[in-house]
Amino acid sequence: MDLLQNLYAGFSLALSPTNLLFAAIGVVYGTVMGAMPGIGSVTAVALLLPLTFTMNPTTALIMLAGIYYGVAYGGTITAVLINVPGDSSTVMTTLDGYQMALQGRAGPALAMAAIGSFIAGTIATVVLMSLAPSLAQLALRFGPPEYFALVLLAFSLLTAFEGRQPVKIAVATLLGLLIATVGLDVVGGRPRFTFGVPQLFGGISFVTAIVGLFGIGEVLASMERPYRLDVLQARFRLRDVFPGWQDWAASRWAILRGTLVGCLVGILPGAGATTASFFAYLTEKRLSRDPQRFGRGAIEGVAAPESANNAACISAFAPLLALGIPGSATTAVLLAGFLIWGIRPGPMLFQANADLVWALMASMYLGNLMLVLLNVFFIPAFVAVLRIPYTVLMPLIVVFSTMGAFSVNNDVFDVWLMVGFGVLGYLMKRLDYPVAPMVLALVLGPMAENSLRQALILSGGDLGIFFARPISGALMAMALLAYLYPVARWAVRTRGQRAAASGLSTGRG
């Protein structure tokens, strides 16, 4: 069978000593970075991306993917022991995880999160393996209008899921698209917005922008509000860590439901692990026979979101690999990596680079296995990492960001650009403009513009081409609906407030 053959080839490549070593480096580094509050998966991946420029792409991808799903494991440690999400995908875990830790059950909370993540990750890898090739088959029929519609859908879903401040999300997206236009115009070869600076002719490097926005921007924002971490004392002997049978009984369906939610949400463009964990927690609470227990240390409240965020991390690779469209900021960074290594993700990837794809998916099983072992048996080691003061860690982030920006073109000019993006990232954070849509727009910008212009060349300038073709028409309709969603919600809320106000006034009279 084809699948078994591919799997065999994938595992034999993933099990090579080099690839195993880099998968291990990725998951350990990911767990450590995930445990650090304020450092999310985007920063963790972006800081190491420059090191992979000259690496074998398969090895590099295995390591970076390991970081990505490793961060979700590490974030849990902080969420449970400090009540601060180490990564945004562990926000929901703080609700019940910290309560469990207060009740002296930090061990079972962390172990159940790790085991749930492992089960979810394994199932999601199977889903990815069976789904991605067929998605790639479908995508072979995509032309420029479909790709443009898909990119628009990713942006619109980001707006709908984020929910808060849709106009600021739109501004962030537009800014990202605008920055992506700097450099030589790909269709006509004419320089745009380069201000006569030769270094800008090749465009603004994504790595420079991302280490500035996330590395430097995050350091500036968090130095302003220094925090002290109060790590809850807990016992992590094996006896204290393993969940009891009651915990298992409570968690098994939560893990499976979380996995399902995670897989579904992860595949959607524009929604990532954070959204998935949120939906999984709400689903679990709604289905529970005793919803009162949630927020008071219910183990299902840890198992469901933790399973969901890991499942979403893995299933998010389906659109990335098969369509070349990342669904979240972190997968956008991975897409940038692909482009740097000279590999174009998309339907052709499964033919041109089948070995890479299958080795990556095989490495996900292995990586998750390593993570569950690490996160059950070595919790104290990761807790010790939390005691590193931020004032030691922060200079290291600055150093790595600077070296990363420099290494893009071996030019100090990129370091200056990075500082500029750092200030921009800091200002956006302070003024509440989300950075993730900008990152997605930065990476997808050239593709969005090319497909838009190619589609309009095909149609002779008629916008109808986006709606006339069935797949692109459906995608466009979904995108427009997603954009209308915040507007509709706003209208309903305003009407509701007005009705309440008038009800109040008539009641008085």
Binding site: V167, V392, V399
Partner: protein
């Protein structure tokens, strides 16, 4: 924060307007279809629209007391930014890796009040580590100063 938010929104409008003006210098339509000025023009216009929406919203809601933009800890962010800029300016004299080593030690000492020994140790490790990873392993031509770092 209200004033800072307003400044942000006005900057969005200004940026959008500048992009619209600049994109008019580029051909909007070429013989093969939409030209290089096509997308920037619409992006600029959309930025102006979004920015005006934000401005209008802020003006309707009126000034509110949601804290100030400058916080008691803002000087720490300024120290990080200022010393990073200083380090980049000093690259021709110190070299990149030595500069970053000094920067790390400086930030640890000023912001973390760590012991001199710890600061120097981390500084030395940063120089050695970056030289090894980026210079030896990745073989990047690192900018060096007269000191040879």
């Amino acid at each position: 924060m209200w004033a800072a938010d307003l400044v942000g929104a006005v900057s969005v409008v200004a940026l959008g307007a500048a992009v619209v003006v600049a994109s008019r210098q580029l051909p909007y339509y070429a013989e093969y279809g939409p030209g290089p000025g096509f997308l920037p023009f619409w992006l600029g216009l959309a930025l102006v629209a979004c920015g005006l929406g934000l401005v209008a919203d802020l003006l309707v809601r009126g000034p509110r007391h949601e804290g100030r933009f400058v916080q008691p800890g803002s000087w720490r962010a300024a120290v990080v930014l200022g010393s990073l800029v200083g380090t980049i300016l000093l690259v021709p004299y110190l070299g990149l890796t030595l500069g970053l080593g000094v920067l790390s030690a400086f930030l640890m000492r000023v912001l973390g009040r760590h012991s001199w020994f710890g600061c120097v140790l981390v500084g030395v490790l940063v120089v050695a580590g970056t030289r090894w990873i980026f210079g030896v392993w990745l073989k990047l031509p690192l900018p060096e100063g007269p000191l040879g770092f």
